[in-house]
């Protein structure tokens, strides 16, 4: 099963670099967010990726083209212009980088990479979220429910306090268990190949594709109780960096190589 990663969005405002980076290329602990996401999927046994790129696609292509250079120690001999690689610590990944346009919405990006998928189903995920979703369990859930799509839901990351109210709008006071009732879309899906038929036009996955599946009762949810966070704001970014630097990154499901 291939992992489709949405990495084509507009530039990140997370860092003060003069040249804006595509968001998935912003570094945490010296590695792009995209790398973190892929390491996590690889640790769970998924090593084939399709990157839906757009904004600054060249940067993403360069990253994978020179991946072994970034990962390994190298010796450049300028007399002969040869490069020797020491301790090759590359990955056994297969990465397809696809130009899905500068202004495409997410559903259109996914539809444009259909030809690079294989098998009956695929994973779709955002290139700017970090999580410890057990994707194998999601896949098992998806197969057993037999719907065209399964959406992974998680607890909101808690930026906005949830307010406990009854139907008449009466405030019910501080209730610790209020978040037990709230769920949000993580942007991680498992799609059947035939679900691609519903990806038409330049819409985001949420505004059109999911609606169509809802009408047909073809979408299921998988509730993920663990960690999930977008890396959208500077605050998110700093939190993720702090977790990583403290050696407490929940999404780090892999062992140091």
């Amino acid at each position: 099963m291939k992992v489709i990663i949405l990495a084509g969005g507009m530039p990140s405002t997370l860092t003060d670099e003069r040249e804006k980076l595509p968001k998935p290329m912003v570094n945490i602990g010296g590695k792009p967010i995209l790398w973190h996401i892929m390491k996590k999927y690889a640790a769970q046994g998924f090593r084939e990726f399709v990157i839906c790129a757009g904004y600054k696609i060249d940067m993403i292509k360069d990253y994978f083209k020179d991946f072994y250079i970034y990962q390994s120690d190298i010796t450049v001999d300028l007399r002969t212009n040869t490069i020797k690689i020491h301790r090759n610590v590359s990955e056994d990944w297969k990465v397809t980088v696809v130009d899905t346009g500068l202004y495409s919405a997410t559903a259109q990006r996914v539809s444009l990479v259909e030809k690079y998928t294989d098998g009956d189903s695929c994973i779709v995920t955002y290139g700017d979220c970090l999580d410890d979703i057990d994707i194998k369990d999601v896949a098992a859930h998806h197969r057993s429910h037999g719907k065209l799509a399964t959406m992974v839901a998680a607890r909101p990351s808690g930026r906005h306090a949830l307010l406990a109210m009854d139907r008449e709008g009466n405030y019910l006071g501080m209730r610790r268990d209020i978040s037990r009732e709230a769920w949000t879309n993580t942007g991680t899906y498992i799609l059947e190949k035939s679900a691609f038929n519903f990806l038409t036009g330049n819409y985001s996955l949420e505004e059109q594709f999911l609606e169509r599946l809802v009408e047909r009762r073809q979408i299921d949810t998988y509730c993920h109780e663990g960690f999930w966070s977008p890396v959208e704001t500077k605050r998110d970014f700093e939190q993720m960096q702090n977790l990583w630097n403290a050696g407490a990154a929940p999404w780090k499901l892999w062992q140091e190589g």
Binding site: G29, Y70, S72, D73, D77, L78, I83
Partner: protein
């Protein structure tokens, strides 16, 4: 003999310049300061370098993997993706770029490149942010003559403040303008080590200049090569502008090499 250059630090004091690049890649006269340092060593016949990369190390790797192409005339054949560099002479350098971690301290960085020193008895080490007209040949001769484990090059930086001698009731007795000989000696880098230095680095979780240097000094294994010539670090924007100014005026004291 191999020359190890420490190029992994964050360089926070030069923040305006190092948001986009690691400090050794900050340019003087359109070339990274790292290049200038390598040219100094190259002038004395040292052509093998080991760069300890860390913060934004990929930029240093890219610089050297592209160096040959950027320095020569190139024909691209777009039909098969190949390219040919025409005049092949760039620098006679062999540059090893080692990932030594993002926040590793200097002793740890040196431990991580140990395998690239190979069986050599001696190696050189310097910082990726300081230039000087250090006589590397004399430095090595000095190191070999004394036979101790470590030699550091020391210098007295230009004084920034004039010294005033004050007598009773605050009477100014003398006023001395920024005398260099009154400054204390500082570590300018440009070091030479016997490989025994690896025994002093512990598990690498410290700065080279702290415990390892203290132990070496205590054991009488560290000597100072006093450099009376020019030397300047590039710690801040003021330093960078000073060095850039010298380069522009053709007064770059560290430019020992001919065009």
């Amino acid at each position: 003999m191999k020359v190890v250059i420490l190029a992994g630090g964050l360089g926070s004091r030069l923040s305006e310049e190092t948001v986009d690049r690691p400090k050794p890649m900050v340019e003087i006269g359109g070339r990274p300061i790292l290049w200038h340092i390598m040219k100094i060593y190259s002038h004395y016949g040292f052509q093998e370098f080991i760069i300890c990369c860390g913060y934004k190390g990929h930029m240093i790797k890219e610089y050297f993997t592209h160096y040959h192409m950027y320095q020569t005339n190139t024909t691209f054949d777009l039909s098969d993706g190949g390219h040919t560099d025409h005049n092949s002479a760039t620098e006679p350098w062999q540059v090893t770029l080692a990932n030594t971690g993002l926040s590793t301290l200097t002793a740890g960085r040196i431990l991580r490149i140990r395998e690239y020193i190979g069986g050599d008895e001696e190696f050189m080490l310097t910082y990726g942010d300081g230039v000087g007209d250090v006589d590397i040949e004399a430095l090595l001769a000095f190191h070999r003559a004394h036979g101790r484990i470590a030699t550091i090059t020391t210098t007295r930086p230009e004084g920034r403040f004039g010294a005033i001698k004050i007598g009773e009731h605050g009477r100014v007795e003398s006023f001395k303008e920024k005398a260099r000989k009154d400054q204390s000696w500082v570590n300018a880098g440009f070091m030479v080590f016997n490989r025994k230095v690896f025994d002093y680095l512990g598990d690498g979780s410290m700065m080279l200049e702290d415990e390892p240097f203290e132990k070496l000094a205590k054991a009488g294994e560290m000597m100072a090569f006093c450099h009376e010539g020019f030397w300047s670090p590039m710690d801040n924007l003021h330093d960078r502008e000073y060095l850039e100014g010298l380069w522009e005026k053709g007064q770059a004291f560290w430019k020992l090499w001919a065009e």
